[in-house]
């Protein structure tokens, strides 16, 4: 199987309400896929289904040829399926350095050790430095996260994901809430993601989507209504209809 990651016929209903209907998509290694859609299209539900936060009513999630549908969220992370959060989830009292160190120790199965020093490992320290350096976060490495700019927090969110050495990365609106002056740094970080990584990005900022994605999937009312090149998406009649039906998002596609 050449696809690194695949979902097949993924469906989810809450009571009588179907929020995801028969979603199938596949991503090879190195994929840069953007998932877009109007508010309420089921994007977040889709992410939660893929990461294992909620169980699908039907369908399969396949990672690296292995069916992970029955695995919980934590085990999927350990298999290389990693996500970032739409609203950053960071530890406000810890520094970026501590975040990345903890993540690396966790990846190596050393995070629950009592008889070890947190900062004692020079290999880990080097890797931390590498990740923070790539993201341009060295200057704030020892500041409390609560004190650094939101754009930097978003970069750290990406850094944590990278420190897990993922195979598949789900970016849930990586630039949400970031002032436009700081978005170039987010974009730069996205450009520097490891080439072999399969990335699925959910994003409202269409400029970012067009620059980043090689392929676009449009979700509306829980269904995929379009799949193709970024250059084709704006011209598609179904997509225009879906967005125009939702006044608030109409301008972002036009």
């Amino acid at each position: 199987m050449s696809d690194l990651f695949r979902v097949e016929g993924l469906s989810k209903s809450f009571g009588g309400l179907a929020v995801s209907r028969n979603i199938s998509l596949a991503m090879p290694a190195g994929e840069r896929l953007a998932l877009i859609g109007p508010n309420g299209a089921g994007k977040t539900t889709f992410v939660n289904l893929v990461t294992g936060q909620i169980r699908p009513s039907a369908g399969r999630v396949v990672l690296n040829g292995e069916d992970v549908t029955e695995l919980g969220a934590v085990r999927r992370v350990r298999q290389g399926l990693v996500r970032t959060f739409q609203v950053t989830r960071l530890f406000s009292d810890m520094t970026p350095e501590e975040h990345i160190t903890l993540t690396i120790l966790q990846r190596e199965g050393k995070a629950a050790r009592i008889l070890a020093r947190f900062h004692g490992n020079s290999e880990v320290a080097e890797e931390v430095e590498g990740i923070l350096g790539t993201l341009g976060l060295i200057e704030v490495a020892r500041r409390r996260v609560g004190e650094i700019a939101y754009g930097q927090q978003r970069l750290l969110e990406i850094g944590i994901a990278l420190a897990l050495k993922p195979k598949v990365l789900l970016l849930d609106e990586p630039a949400a809430g970031v002032p436009s002056s700081e978005t170039p740094r987010i974009e730069q970080a996205l450009e520097r993601l490891p080439p072999s990584l399969a990335v699925l990005m959910i994003e409202h900022d269409m400029d970012l989507v067009f620059r980043f994605a090689k392929r676009v999937v449009v979700l509306a009312a829980g269904e995929i209504i379009f799949e193709g090149l970024p250059s084709e998406v704006a011209a598609n009649a179904k997509v225009r209809e879906a967005y125009l039906g939702n006044y608030a998002n109409a301008r972002s596609v036009a």
Partner: protein, 337 residues
């Protein structure tokens, strides 16, 4: 890449060094305060030993509440488990004090494992209610199993052998107090290492956001359970120390009231810093001792007023107040370890 013009190197970590100095100073201060108590209040050593035993209980609560964010009002179950285990062992002929402490630690750890396994199934308020239910069950079990525990009479007249075969537990409580102080210092140092280890950082992460920890690929339950076991061992040692020093084990060591008071002491001193647990215990029990002598009828009112004043004036507890007042501690990036 204009943004990359900045330095890409981290300076060698300066933090552990300064933090180590701070902790060494802290430990020296604890020893100094302990010895000062020994010289200044030679007639109150029994009370001071009791303070140390309770301080161990409060430290154990800090581990689960302050570092993991698990609320509990049943920690005395672990303290009492240690006290009764040591007491029962002593009645049955085990009189070596260090062995009794070890028995208390093991009993507390086992009780912590049990308590954690049950409590960690629930969250929030339900978790708190479970902790109360557990301490009540322990209390009732000790009451009913009178053949082993002496029921409501408790175990009395425990004859503990001399420490290291040399130092008898004297009438004035000198040996018991110095033994307790040494135990407290050793446990404090061990816990400092525990909370600043990778495990301690993981716990702090869980306290703030368990979902984030899950998204990092770490399971929350086993980490918290491990902390419950450590916390149980510490509380159990406190209970065993109380049993050895007073030569009595009663149902009050397993009570909801003790659990609640200990939590109050922790809040008073400040959550999530081991110093706060010690400060809170000393202030609370010292205040209680003085005020109850002055006014035996309304001392609880005064304690309540003190608590309200502290919570309103210093939400981080008394040690949090020290953090704000002392600039040298503030510089430490607010990192609480």
């Amino acid at each position: 890449m204009p943004t990359m013009a900045q330095t890409e190197k981290l300076a060698a970590a300066p933090i552990p060094g300064s933090r180590a100095v701070r902790d060494v100073v802290g430990v020296i201060l604890i020893i100094a305060a302990g010895l000062a108590g020994f010289w200044l209040f030679p007639d109150n050593l029994a009370l001071l030993t009791r303070v140390i035993a309770v301080a161990l209980l409060v430290l154990s609560i800090d581990l689960v509440v302050g570092y993991c964010g698990v609320a509990t009002l049943g920690q005395a179950a672990l303290f009492g488990a240690g006290a009764y285990a040591a007491g029962i062992a002593c009645v049955n002929g085990v009189t070596e004090p260090l062995t009794l402490i070890l028995i208390g630690a093991v009993a507390g750890a086992v009780a912590g494992l049990l308590m954690g396994t049950i409590m960690l199934r629930a969250h929030g308020l339900a978790q708190l209610v479970l902790s109360i239910a557990i301490v009540q069950l322990f209390h009732e079990a000790a009451n009913k199993a009178s053949a082993y525990t002496g029921g409501s009479d408790g175990l009395a007249g425990l004859m503990v052998g001399p420490l290291f075969g040399v130092f008898e537990f004297d009438l004035w409580g000198q040996t018991a107090y110095l033994f307790g102080l040494a135990l407290l210092v050793v446990i404090f140092i061990v816990l400092k290492f525990v909370v600043s280890s990778p495990f301690g950082m993981l716990c702090r992460g869980i306290k703030e956001d368990p979902i984030r920890i899950g998204a990092m690929g770490a399971f929350v339950f086993p980490v918290l359970l491990k902390m419950f076991v450590i916390s149980g061992a510490v509380a159990g040692i406190g209970g065993a120390l109380a049993a050895i020093s007073t030569q009595v084990v009663g149902l009050d060591s397993l009570s909801f009231e003790l659990s609640a008071n200990a939590l109050v002491m922790l809040v008073l001193g400040g959550l999530g810093s081991l110093y706060g647990a010690l400060v809170g215990t000393v202030i609370f029990m010292g205040f209680e001792h003085v005020v109850s002598a002055i006014n035996p009828f309304h001392w609880m009112t005064m304690v309540g007023a003190l608590l309200i004043a502290v919570v309103l004036a210093a939400p981080g507890g008394l040690s949090g107040l020290a953090d704000r007042v002392l600039p040298s501690r503030q510089r430490n990036r607010g990192g609480r370890a």
